[in-house]
């Protein structure tokens, strides 16, 4: 029970870390979904330029490590503006922009998974492109993409751990502090692993409930 004792001893550190990790995950998730939806609309738009910009963005973000991206935002902001950006803000921007690329691809595949006949039926009734998207395609697409989107959210929570590399006092950072103050290399890591698992497991269960609720019409 050494692990539990250690946790109780340093619980205030851990609680601060948990709060920051949850806040960072939550804000990035929302920003990621909003930006991701925009990227998806850009990629699927008739406008070639918008589509190309979005494609390049998605490919570059998916093809470079998160750790590099977060460092680029953190140090790059200093090089470009001359002002030191707060670590948390830099992490928030980097994680959101990273997540957005994945979310865009998930939404796009969800929309494209809907049978072409749904478009045709809706348009033939005289509904506009926009109405068709909003009332016919998206509600069905969301149901299809929920599992993949849930995966992405779980990944996002885990990836926020990279924020510790630029000094954001998240859960991962807490484990480093506890390691050095308690002189224990192993147990503090076990604790964060357990906490990360509890967070991701809760989230995936919640998404499971939502999936079942949306499947009522099958």
């Amino acid at each position: 029970m050494k692990v539990l004792e250690l946790f109780l001893e340093y619980k205030y550190y851990y609680i601060v870390g948990i709060k920051i990790t949850i806040l960072l995950s939550f804000l990035s998730l929302i920003a990621g979904v909003i930006i991701g939806t925009l990227l998806c609309l850009m990629k699927m738009s008739q406008n070639k330029l918008l589509s190309i910009i979005s494609t390049i963005y998605i490919e570059v973000v998916r093809g470079t490590p998160m750790m590099v991206q977060i460092a680029l935002v953190y140090f790059g902001s200093y090089v470009i503006t001359g002002v030191n950006m707060e670590g948390f803000i830099a992490a928030l921007i980097a994680v959101s922009l990273n997540s957005a690329a994945y979310v865009a691809e998930i939404i796009r595949s969800g929309i494209q998974s809907i049978d072409k006949g749904q478009w045709e039926a809706s348009r033939s009734l005289g509904l506009s492109n926009r109405q068709t998207m909003r009332y016919i395609i998206l509600p069905q697409a969301i149901k299809n993409i929920l599992p993949a989107l849930g995966n992405e959210f779980v990944t996002l929570i885990k990836e926020t751990a990279v924020a510790s590399t630029i000094g954001v006092a998240d859960l991962m950072y807490t484990s480093k502090i506890v390691q050095s103050t308690s002189y224990q290399p192993f147990n503090p890591l076990v604790i964060v692993a357990i906490i990360y698992f509890i967070m991701t497991f809760t989230l995936s269960q919640l998404i499971g409930v939502l999936e079942r609720r949306l499947s009522h019409c099958d």
Partner: protein
């Protein structure tokens, strides 16, 4: 009511509609028959602008749909389309499927649309299914709901694209009965079909298409009993052999 002039359609290098000219009057029931791949479906899909013609003009009540731009939605509201695979909205109940378009396009309020939907469901003999989801219905029921969904917009023209081809044989009759009822009510209809007996009985005019061309058109009785073109004769001898 519908006027088609020199309509051509290519899919890639394939010439699927060759210089089609056709005029359909209000209240007319026209059956389009012909072998698979003859362009029948493409032709009626062009009328609803689900396929963009490569060249030529299609006028609906004098309006050229190729140049309609944003007006295409309001033209489509007057044209009902029934698909081979129903294309009901699976995330909406039967009632919602029928009321969705009239409400969203602002033609009816929610109450009016529901009242209208109930009347249509009564005609279709499916009142008890109003709160069901499409996936729980049989093919024949789905197709009748799809017809009701189109009728809820008060269309002036109804297009049927092989509406009974995906149905189990015992369900074909219930859908044809509804179509017959519509024809008797004076609806302008274009029906792509493989049901020759239905075409003969219900259609005012039958058009035989092959290889993207209109080969022969005539009244139902004349076309079936005295086909003039050898290709028509060959086709009819095959489909009417049994």
């Amino acid at each position: 009511m519908i006027k088609i002039e020199n309509l051509n359609k290519y899919f890639g290098g394939k010439h699927v509609l060759k210089n089609i000219n056709l005029q359909i009057e209000k209240g007319e029931v026209v059956a389009l028959i012909g072998p698979s791949g003859s362009g029948k479906s493409t032709l009626i899909r062009c009328i609803d602008y689900l396929e963009e013609p490569t060249s030529g003009n299609i006028y609906i009540n004098g309006k050229n749909i190729a140049q309609s731009g944003k007006d295409i939605d309001s033209i489509r509201q007057k044209i009902g389309m029934v698909f081979q695979h129903f294309n009901l909205f699976p995330h909406k109940t039967v009632l919602e499927n029928i009321t969705l378009a009239p409400v969203l396009t602002g033609r009816l309020t929610k109450d009016e649309a529901e009242k209208k939907a109930m009347e249509l469901l009564k005609i279709m003999d499916l009142l008890d299914k109003k709160d069901a989801y499409p996936n729980s219905l049989s093919g024949g029921q789905k197709q009748r709901i799809a017809i009701a969904r189109s009728l809820a917009m008060d269309p002036e023209i109804m297009l049927f694209d092989e509406a009974t081809s995906a149905l189990d044989p015992e369900m074909v009759g219930e859908v044809l009965n509804v179509m017959k009822y519509l024809a008797e009510e004076g609806m302008t209809m274009i029906v792509v079909t493989h049901e020759m007996a239905f075409a003969k009985q219900v259609a005012d005019r039958v058009i035989f298409m092959a290889d993207g061309e209109i080969v022969e058109e005539n009244s139902a009785v004349n076309l079936f009993e005295n086909p003039e073109n050898p290709r028509t004769r060959e086709f009819l001898s095959k489909v009417l052999a049994y």
